[in-house]
C-alpha cells in the first residue's frame, strides 16, 4: 500500500513539482495551499506524512504545525528556506519531526520521507519498564501507572531506541542515524529538541530527568530498565 503524503505549500509550482516527484517515487500526494485547508485535509484524507512549508500566507507554518500536533501524531517534515537556528528550532519545538532546507536534493527529501514512514521498530521485546513508566512495544503505547501517555511515532521511536539498550550511551549522531535515518552528519539540534519534547511528556520533573538521562559531552541514555514478567530481549 502506498503512503499518502499531504504537501502544504502556497507556491503552486513547487507543490506540483514535489507531487510529480513523489508520485514518481510511488507515493500518493495531496496538496493544500494554506493552513486551514491543510487542517481540513488532515481529517478527510488522514495522510501518513505531512510536508509543511513554514512560510505560509495567513496562518503561519509554525502555527499549522502546532495545530496538527494538537490532533495528530502524524510525521511532519518542514520545508524551510532558512537554516538559521531560530526558525528551525521553533519549528521543531512546535512538533515537526524533521526538516529539509530549500533548495533540497530530491533524493534527500525522499530519504527523509522514507525514514519517517519506516515501521518504527522490529524489536522483539513486548514490554519494557523504565523508572515508573512502561513501554508496550507491539501496542505502541507508553503508560504510567496504567494511564496512557500520548507520544508521536518519532518520540516513541526515540524512547524505544534508548530503552532497548539500557546500558548504552547514545551519541546524538547515533540517534540521528537510528531514529531519523541520517546516513551522514546532520543537525544535532534535532535530537536536543526532541529529547526536550519527550521529557516534557514522560518525565515527572523534566528538569531532573530520570527516564532519559543526559551524559554530558557524550549523549543520552535511558534510565534503569526493569524487566517485566514476560522478559526483555533487546534487539540486535
Amino acid at each position: 500500500m502506498s503512503a499518502t503524503i499531504l504537501v502544504v505549500d502556497d507556491d503552486l509550482a513547487l507543490a506540483e513539482m514535489i507531487s510529480i516527484m513523489l508520485r514518481g517515487e510511488g507515493f500518493v500526494t495531496h496538496h493544500a495551499a494554506d493552513g486551514p485547508l491543510a487542517l481540513d485535509q488532515l481529517e478527510s484524507i488522514n495522510p501518513d506524512l505531512v510536508l509543511l512549508d513554514v512560510m505560509l500566507p495567513g496562518m503561519d507554518g509554525m502555527d499549522v504545525c502546532a495545530r496538527i500536533r494538537d490532533v495528530s501524531g502524524v510525521p511532519i517534515i518542514m520545508l524551510t528556506a532558512k537554516s538559521d537556528s531560530t526558525d528551525v528550532v521553533r519549528g521543531l519545538e512546535n512538533g515537526a519531526d524533521d526538516y529539509v532546507v530549500k533548495p533540497f536534493n530530491p533524493k534527500e527529501l525522499v530519504a527523509r520521507i522514507r525514514a519517517r514512514l519506516r515501521p518504527t521498530s522490529d524489536a522483539q521485546a513486548s514490554l519494557i519498564c523504565i523508572a515508573d513508566i512502561e513501554i508496550d512495544v507491539p501496542g505502541h503505547e507508553v503508560r504510567r501507572s496504567g494511564s496512557r501517555i500520548n507520544l508521536t511515532p518519532l518520540e516513541f521511536q526515540l524512547l524505544l531506541t534508548l530503552a532497548l539498550k539500557p546500558h548504552q550511551v547514545f551519541t546524538r549522531e547515533a540517534l540521528l542515524e537510528q531514529v531519523w535515518g541520517y546516513q551522514y552528519k546532520a543537525d544535532t539540534r534535532l535530537v536536543n529538541v526532541h529529547v526536550q519534547r519527550l521529557r516534557s511528556k514522560i518525565e515527572i520533573d523534566p528538569d531532573n530527568p530520570v527516564i532519559v538521562e543526559t551524559i554530558r559531552g557524550v549523549g543520552y541514555r535511558s534510565g534503569k530498565a526493569v524487566a517485566s514478567g514476560e522478559g526483555v530481549t533487546p534487539a540486535e
Binding site: D11, A13, M17, I20, G24, M55, P103, G217
Partner: protein, 547 residues
C-alpha cells in the same frame, strides 16, 4: 639595598599616587591648600617681621631717650657734687647716681646697669666701678666698650641676650660716657630688658600662626565644597556618557536652571539625542539591507527548488533524450548547483556583514576533520590528477571550534589547491602548540604574484579571468573563510610564488580568547613528501596517509 628601599617607598606611594591621579577633588584641594599655605606663610612672615621691627624700634627710641636723660642727669649730678672747695666725695656721688639710675629705670623694666671706669687713666682719685648685683659683665661686649671710648660724645647701643633665671631674654645695652671730676672718665652702661616686647611679639606671632592655619583650613574647605559643587554635574555627565557608551541610548542628564551647567546638560542631551537618532537610523538601515539580502536569497530558494526538482525528474529520463538535450540537461543541473552555492555564500556573507554570526563551539579533532575534508574532495582531486597528502606534525588533541566553519575553510583551501594545482601533489599540514592549532594546504601549481596574493580575500576577485574554473567557485569562498577564521579569533595567511605554488595557512586559538601569535606551522611548511619541482617523494615513514 638601595633598590629595595626605593621599591618599598614606591609601593607605599602607590595608593596616594592613584588617588592623586584619579581624584580631581583631591588634586584641587591639595593644590589650593599648598598654594594658599605658601601665600599665608609669606604674608604672615612679612607681617611678623614688620611688627617685630616696629615694636623694637619704638622701644629702642624710648630706651635711647631714657638713656640720654639718665646720662645727662648723672653727669649733672657728678658735676654738682663738686664742692666750692673743688673737692668731691666720689663714693657719695656714686651712690646717689645709682639711686638716680634705679629711679629712672624702674619706669620701664630694666636689666640693670654698670658704671665702669675706662681703663688706662691716671687720675687723682678713683671711683669704685659698680654694677647691679648678679649682672654678668660679659654682656658688655668689647666692641661696645671700644666704641664708647672712641666716640665718647654719642650714645651707643647694642642688642644682647640677657640671662635671667637661666633663660636668655632679649635686651638692649646703651653705653655713654660720664666725666667724673677728679676721678676721670667712666662708662655708663644701662641694660634694658626687652622681654615684655618679646612677649607681645610672641603673642602677635601666635595669633598670626593660628589665624593663618584657620585661614588655610577655611580656604581648603571652601575649595572642597566649591569643587564638589562644580564637579557634581561633570560627574553626572561622565556617568551618563558611560551609560550611553554601554548602549543605554535612552540615558539623559537632568536639565535645570540657566547657568553653564544647565547649558552643559542641554548640549550633552542634544548630542545624545542626535547620536541616538543616527545609531537607530543606521541600525535600521543595516537591518533593512540585511533583511533584503536575506529575503532575496530566501525568495530565490523556492523557485530554485522547483527548477531543481524538475531537472531531476527530467534527468531520470535522460536515456530518452537526444545527445544535445542530454548535455543541456547536464549543464542545467551543474548550473543549478552553482546557483545554489552562490546563494548560500551570499547569505553567509550578508550574515557576516550584519554581524549576525554566532559560532557553535564544540570539541573538534582537527586531524580527523582535515582527513574528512580530503576524503570528500578525493574524487575531484583524482579527476584532476592531484595526489592529496596529509602530513600531521601535531594537533592530535581536540580544540574548541565550530566544526562546520573549520570544515568550510579547509574545503575551500583544498578546492582552490585542486583548481590551481596543475595535477601536482597537494599536502595538508596540521600542527599545534600550546596556544593554537594550524592547518596549511600547500600546492605546487601555478602560484600567484605578490600583488595577486594580496587580493585573494577580496570578494568576487579572481586571480586570472581566463583561468579555467572547474569547481565553479562563487568568488566569495576565501572572503568567507577569512571571516570564519576571524570569528574564531584566528587568522589566515597566504604565501604564493609564481610557478612555485601557493600555501594557505589558517591559525586558530585552541580555545576561545586564546593567542595566535606564533603559528605552529611555517609558511610554507617544510616537507619531505614533495620535492621542489612538485614531484611526490615516496615516504619512508608509514604514518603518512595518502588519500
Amino acid at each position: 639595598m638601595m633598590w629595595r628601599w626605593w621599591r618599598e617607598v614606591k609601593a607605599l606611594l602607590a595608593a596616594p599616587r592613584r588617588v592623586w591621579r584619579e581624584s580631581l577633588l583631591t588634586r584641587t584641594v591639595v593644590v589650593t591648600t599648598v598654594l594658599s599655605g605658601m601665600a599665608v606663610t609669606v604674608i604672615g612672615g612679612y607681617m611678623s617681621l614688620t611688627i617685630q621691627s616696629s615694636l623694637f624700634n619704638s622701644r629702642l627710641d624710648q630706651v635711647i631717650s631714657e638713656s640720654v636723660r639718665t646720662s645727662t642727669q648723672l653727669q649733672a649730678l657728678f658735676d654738682n657734687s663738686v664742692t666750692p672747695a673743688g673737692t668731691i666725695d666720689v663714693e657719695t656721688a656714686n651712690s646717689s647716681a645709682q639711686t638716680a639710675i634705679r629711679t629712672n629705670q624702674s619706669v620701664a623694666g630694666s636689666g640693670g646697669f654698670a658704671i665702669l671706669r675706662t681703663p688706662g687713666q691716671i687720675t687723682l682719685q678713683t671711683m669704685t666701678s659698680t654694677s647691679t648685683s648678679g649682672l654678668d659683665l660679659s654682656v658688655l661686649s668689647t666692641s661696645l666698650r671700644q666704641a664708647v671710648v672712641q666716640a665718647p660724645e654719642s650714645l651707643h647701643h647694642q642688642s644682647v641676650g640677657l640671662s635671667v633665671d637661666g633663660q636668655v631674654v632679649p635686651a638692649v645695652v646703651t653705653a655713654s660716657v660720664i666725666q667724673v671730676p677728679t676721678a676721670g672718665q667712666y662708662e655708663l652702661y644701662l641694660i634694658y630688658d626687652l622681654s615684655d616686647v618679646q612677649a607681645t611679639l610672641t603673642l602677635v606671632q601666635q595669633t598670626l600662626i593660628a589665624g593663618s592655619l584657620l585661614l588655610v583650613l577655611t580656604i581648603s574647605l571652601v575649595t572642597w565644597l566649591v569643587v564638589r559643587l562644580a564637579i557634581r554635574p561633570v560627574k553626572v555627565a561622565a556617568n551618563t556618557a558611560e551609560r550611553l557608551s554601554q548602549g543605554y541610548l535612552e540615558e539623559r542628564i537632568e536639565e535645570g536652571g540657566e547657568d553653564v551647567i544647565a547649558v552643559l546638560a542641554r548640549s550633552f542631551n542634544k548630542m545624545a539625542d542626535s547620536m541616538q537618532g543616527q545609531i537607530v537610523r543606521l541600525a535600521r538601515l543595516s537591518k533593512l539591507q540585511q533583511r533584503f539580502v536575506s529575503d532575496v536569497s530566501h525568495e530565490l530558494r523556492t523557485p530554485l527548488t522547483t527548477i531543481r526538482l524538475a531537472a531531476n525528474v527530467l534527468s531520470q529520463k535522460r536515456d530518452q533524450l537526444d545527445p544535445e538535450s542530454a548535455r543541456s540537461l547536464e549543464l542545467l543541473e551543474t548550473q543549478i548547483e552553482r546557483f545554489e552555492v552562490m546563494l548560500t555564500d551570499l547569505l553567509e556573507m550578508s550574515r557576516y556583514d550584519a554581524g549576525a554570526v554566532e559560532i557553535d563551539r564544540d570539541e573538534v579533532n582537527v586531524v580527523e576533520l582535515v582527513q574528512d575534508c580530503l576524503d570528500q574532495l578525493a574524487p575531484l582531486a583524482e579527476q584532476k590528477g592531484s595526489l592529496l597528502l596529509l602530513e600531521v606534525l601535531g594537533g592530535y588533541g581536540d580544540v574548541d571550534a565550530d566544526a562546520r566553519r573549520l570544515r568550510r575553510i579547509v574545503l575551500n583551501f583544498v578546492g582552490n589547491a585542486i583548481d590551481h594545482g596543475e595535477s601536482k601533489p597537494i599536502v595538508a599540514f596540521v600542527d599545534s602548540n600550546e596556544h593554537c592549532v594550524a592547518i596549511a594546504i600547500r600546492d605546487w601549481g601555478v602560484g600567484m604574484s605578490e600583488q595577486e596574493a594580496s587580493r585573494v580575500f577580496d570578494r568576487f576577485w579572481r586571480a586570472d579571468p581566463s583561468r579555467q574554473r572547474t569547481t565553479g567557485g562563487t568568488g566569495l569562498g576565501l572572503a568567507i573563510a577569512q571571516e570564519d577564521a576571524l570569528v574564531h579569533g584566528g587568522k589566515i595567511d597566504v604565501w604564493s610564488e609564481q610557478g612555485a605554488g601557493t600555501c594557505f595557512r589558517v591559525t586558530l586559538p585552541r580555545a576561545e580568547g586564546g593567542s595566535i601569535e606564533h603559528s605552529p606551522l611555517g609558511l610554507p611548511p617544510e616537507t619531505d613528501l614533495v620535492d621542489a619541482t612538485g614531484a611526490f617523494v615516496e615516504p619512508e615513514t608509514p604514518e603518512v596517509a595518502t588519500t
